[in-house]
């Protein structure tokens, strides 16, 4: 495997030289492999938003480097736009950025800016619409006539259509109901499976992260708190609790059992896992048959 994104001693300071100076990201180094699905957690103000915006050149680092395929993205500042096509970024509540008169044109906006035309553009738009489950008849409608959930998916399709090598999603499920959350999340997982590209998913929902991420990046007070496999990060429930992040409820149940001397693994992430571990244990103890 090779690193697609590499971050070296990255820092960002807001309002440099003013009394409001604040370090948003403090000397961060990490690397992300091709094809990984990374969960990014940390509470509001921990620096995760600033970090992901530096990864595609929307914010210029105060210090340090971001390497994309081994090249510093700021080596040629005039070509920074090219980086944004390669590292796609979906902001929070992306439905508010729709502006074209048809959904099709809106999805095509980024891809056309990238330089795609004709059949290639059409294929990119329709491909992205398919990933986000937007039916063909919706494409000719005005984006303002879609339902809330459809708008969200159209906006995400607009970034997917740029066919980025890395896709960053900042809380794509915020404000959706449980059903909408589940549908969108499975669409993202499918997209990842089919395209095999790298995904960074910023989320407050530990349950969601637990289900989809290979590795988790934890930010706290502008610093990297942890960057490890999902199992290992969630195994440190206490350390996450201390920085105000709560592991999924089912993980906490199993950790409570462990504390009371029951022999269960320390990082159970989903109800299904817990169920198989507990039923095996209960069978062994002869409590169920």
């Amino acid at each position: 495997m090779s690193a697609v994104l590499e971050v070296k001693n990255l820092s960002f300071v807001y309002g440099k030289g003013t009394p409001f100076e604040k370090k948003a990201v403090d000397n961060l180094s990490l690397s992300v492999e091709k094809g990984e699905f990374i969960g990014v957690i940390g509470h509001t103000g921990s620096g995760k938003s600033t970090l992901v915006q530096m990864l595609n050149g929307l914010i210029k680092p105060s210090e340090g480097q971001v390497l994309l395929d081994g090249r510093d993205i700021w080596s040629e500042p005039k070509k920074i736009r090219q980086v944004r096509f390669r590292v796609g970024m979906v902001f929070q509540y992306p439905e508010y950025q729709l502006f074209e008169d048809t959904v099709y044109k809106d999805i095509a906006f980024g891809a056309a800016n990238k330089g795609l035309t004709g059949a290639a553009l059409d294929a990119a738009v329709r491909g992205a619409a398919r990933f986000t489950g937007l039916r063909d008849d919706l494409l000719e409608k005005s984006p303002f006539d879609l339902s809330g959930g459809e708008k969200r998916r159209a906006a995400i399709a607009g970034v997917m259509a740029m066919e980025p090598e890395v896709l960053i999603l900042d809380e794509p499920t915020a404000g959706l109901d449980p059903m909408g959350r589940e549908i969108l999340l499975s669409q993202i997982v499918n997209y990842h499976k089919e395209r095999g590209n790298t995904i960074l998913l910023v989320s407050h929902s530990m349950e969601d992260i637990a289900r989809v991420a290979d590795r988790i990046l934890v930010m706290n007070h502008a610093r990297l708190h942890a960057f490890d496999t999902t199992e290992r990060v969630f195994a440190q429930g206490a350390s996450l609790d201390a920085i105000g992040l709560r592991v999924p409820q089912v993980t906490r149940i199993m950790q409570l059992l462990r504390q009371r001397g029951v022999d269960v693994p320390e990082s159970i992430l989903t109800v299904d896992e817990a169920l198989s571990v507990l039923s095996a244990l209960l069978k062994k103890e002869g409590k169920i048959w």
């Binding site: 915006q53 595609n56 736009r81 902001f91 508010y96 906006f109 990238k114």
Partner: protein, 270 residues
């Protein structure tokens, strides 16, 4: 960043200027601004500058915020002062090509510069120490007599205070939209005039759409909080003129008097 402006901002506090009744403050401010433009010699200008320094000092706001608000109009000040410098009348003391420096020009440049700076500082003084609500409240009360001739005083004041409340929110939203469209490869930095104007469309349309949605939400929220227009409303902050406000107005009157006396006794230099 668009958010980085201090002009028009309000800093809560308890300074002398904060405590003056907003109506008195508004009246004094208007009088002060008018009198700034009736300074014709250095004595009267000196009076104004002294008054301005006094006001900044008692406002309890760090001078750096005043400098910040001046920075915004620095270019305007420079251009107007340079223009005035070379467009004076009278005998030239230095000449080159079309540039003609006169004593009159120098005086004019000094006056224009000082006047604009005082104007900005005075406005900053007002907005730094008076909350938008107080300001619109004062305006509403001062204009109250106009309501008798069916002038929508309350409605205008309410619209103003809502507009002021949402300026920072909309600026923040503009920022977010710019980032989001840049992430989709929108190019807002290059190209000619028309290309740049066109590149604003992806920002402006969503901004308008969201402004309408907000307006709808706000109207709902206001109705939920029993808002039904100006009649029958009371206010939490009762404005009453105290000795402090009377003194402030007398001081302003004295300043005006001082400027008039200076103008009468001494010759104009511009």
């Amino acid at each position: 960043m668009v958010r980085d402006v201090s002009f028009g901002q309000y800093f809560p506090g308890k300074s002398l200027l904060h405590r003056i009744d907003p109506r008195a403050k508004l009246l004094c401010f208007i009088a002060f601004v008018v009198v700034i433009f009736f300074t014709f010699n250095y004595a009267s200008l000196g009076l104004i500058v002294a008054a301005m320094v006094f006001l900044v000092a008692v406002s309890g706001i760090a001078p750096k915020f005043y400098f910040k608000s001046l920075k915004v109009i620095l270019v305007v000040v420079l251009i107007t002062s340079v223009l005035n410098l070379f467009y004076g009348s009278g005998e030239a003391i230095w000449e080159w090509w079309i540039l003609r420096l006169t004593w009159n020009g120098i005086h004019r440049a000094v006056f224009v510069t000082v006047r604009i700076i005082c104007l900005i500082l005075a406005s900053s003084c007002l907005t730094f120490t008076t909350s938008p609500t107080e300001l619109t409240d004062a305006l509403e009360r001062l204009m109250k007599p106009l309501a008798k001739i069916h002038f929508p005083v309350h409605e205008i004041a309410m619209m103003m205070s809502l507009a002021l409340r949402f300026v920072p929110t909309l600026l923040e939203e503009t920022d977010k939209l710019m980032q989001a469209q840049k992430a989709r490869g929108a190019d807002m930095e290059s190209g000619g005039f028309f290309k740049r104007v066109r590149s604003l469309i992806p920002i402006l349309i969503p901004l308008f759409v969201s402004a309408f949605r907000r307006a709808y939400d706000i109207a709902t929220a206001m109705e939920c909080r029993c808002y039904r227009g100006g009649s029958g409303r009371t206010r939490m902050k009762i404005l009453h003129m105290s000795a402090r406000d009377i003194i402030a107005m007398i001081a302003t009157a004295l300043l005006i008097g001082g400027v008039i006396v200076c103008n009468l006794l001494l010759a104009s230099v511009i």
